[in-house]
């Protein structure tokens, strides 16, 4: 079981982490809406995948040799868009078109529209199955592709996730790495109260995943656990303990910031200011 004391002091946010968060706020400003809390908790997980771990080519998004990153919790797409924009898949200004007609950046990511997005997600509980399929395809082709699937802690309420988990283990997919963004809040409230998934690590271990837990805002820890698959003939699960809304103090751990529509200008200013104060 996790305890709140397990990861008491996340390291301070560095410039890269703040930059990506500013892009998220830009999109929230431009679109006037968005899943702020769900995106902010994801930043370091996606940052490490796109900056340090996955092989990918922003100028050739369909490059055969790329690793795949599927954001199964599609509502966290502002974090993914920020990472993709920061890598030059599209311009940083594009973030401000979020959710506007006819922008390619919708409230949930679409594969055919956004360069770098591997799967259209948002209906929860689909990503891990798709990841299993891609990992199997790589195996048939004898390619060394790695597949990353990032899920939410509310999302894993879905039974389809556990169907996929059994299948991933059956096939011994060591090229598959799943991450749970464990911010301990889902739409209605605390996961512990809505549908308690504890003991979470034990569950994934019981399903056959090589499982490790870490601070999901600790870039060094994430680099260490995501760089190399943990299991020999086993899929990897990294349970990343995170803070919903991380970096915007007044939104942290605040269920009402799961999703916001009609965000007024003064709140946007307050977000930039709160982020600037982070150290």
């Amino acid at each position: 079981m996790f305890s709140d004391e397990m990861f008491p002091h996340s390291p301070p946010l560095d410039e890269r982490s703040k930059d990506l968060r500013r892009l998220v706020i830009d999109a929230l400003d431009g679109g006037g809406r968005g899943h702020l809390g769900s995106s902010m908790s994801l930043i370091e997980i996606l940052r490490v995948i796109y900056d340090d771990v996955a092989r990918h080519r922003p100028d050739d998004p369909a490059w055969d040799g790329r690793d795949r990153c599927i954001l199964s919790k599609g509502h966290g797409c502002l974090a993914q868009y920020a990472a993709l924009a920061a890598h030059g898949y599209f311009s940083r200004q594009e973030m401000r078109t979020f959710c506007h007609f006819p922008s390619m950046l919708g409230g949930h990511p679409e594969r055919a529209k956004v360069p770098g997005v591997e799967a259209s997600t948002g209906a929860l509980g689909h990503g891990l199955s798709i990841g299993v399929g891609i990992a199997l395809a790589a195996r048939i082709k004898k390619a060394d592709t790695r597949v990353f699937v990032v899920m939410g802690d509310g999302e894993i309420n879905e039974g389809s996730v556990w169907e996929a988990a059994m299948s991933a283990t059956k096939h011994g997919l060591e090229n598959l790495t799943a991450v749970v963004d464990y911010n301990k809040l889902q739409s209605y409230g605390r996961t512990a109260e809505v549908l308690n998934m504890e003991p979470l690590a034990d569950k994934w271990r019981a399903f056959g995943f090589e499982t490790v837990e870490c601070d999901g805002h600790d870039v060094e820890a994430l680099r260490k656990h995501l760089s190399t698959p943990l299991g020999n003939a086993k899929p990897t699960m990294v349970i990343a303990h995170t803070v919903k809304g991380k970096g915007v103090a007044f939104a942290e751990n605040e269920p009402t910031w799961h999703h916001k529509s009609r965000v007024p200008a003064d709140q946007i200013e307050a977000m930039y200011a709160a982020l600037a104060k982070e150290s």
């Binding site: 689909h126 990503g127 798709i130 399929g133 790589a138 048939i140 299948s167 059956k170």
Partner: protein, 309 residues
Amino acid sequence: MRKTCLNMVFELAKKDPRIVFVGSDLGPGVLDEMKHAMPERFYMEGVSEQHIIGMAAGLAMDGFIPYVNTIATFITRRCYEQLAVDLCLHDLPVRLIGNGGGLVYAPLGPTHLATEDIAITRALPNMTVVAPADAEEMTRFMAVTPDWPHPIYIRLGKGGDPVITGDQQDFEIGRAVPLSNGNDVQIISTGVMSKRALDAADALNAEGISTGVTHLPTIKPLDLDAVISAARSKLVVTLEEHFKSGGLGSAVSELLIDGHVMPELGIVRLGLDDIFPLNYGSQDELLEAFGLQPAGIAESIQKALDARR
């Protein structure tokens, strides 16, 4: 038809390295030969229909052509969101082979009957819906599936269905199969009901009512020309082993309405009433109870003609 369909998967896979098979928890021995000949392309994943659709999507995203097989109602009802989002939104070449479309599982009751499968698959953009009439048509159809770029739902009959399409040429997805012409009535039918349509037409022709039959193995996309052409007869009758709502009859009616074409005596839709079948027994017995055997079909058409003339 079912055995032919699955054997064809293996035959196609021998020639095409992109083809993989994914089953849920099928009967023992299904495609054993393929399993042993190409184990890396044979998957039996257990009772996890939602998962196997997503897994097939992942395989298709990376260049494979998965043929997914389980009971028709589970492959449609059970994982509808996966069909919509994983397959259709991504427009991936996955083939869904649904065992026992319609009333085939009559002895097992409503949980196993696929009586709205056409309606719900037809509602999805990019989805193609095919219901062959017999094993020979299935063989010709399967031969063209590897290169079709969209998802396909394949509705299987029971097996041992009489062959009525034996002299047809190559299968073309979206093309109707005219079986006979008639001036008074044109029956448009799909799947194994086309055999019953032919028998009903024989009975009506014997009574002096000129009745033709158009078999539509592809329900989506519809053969526009064939349906418009059928509407030149006085009465168009659609016939399907499916609820009346949303299936072939709806598709044909919509097309004629959209095209401002209406046969002189209109359209009659024959299919299952809007109830879960109350009885067990055999497929034929349930069809009989719904008036969907040749005598019942002929009687319904005769009544419609009498009422509308």
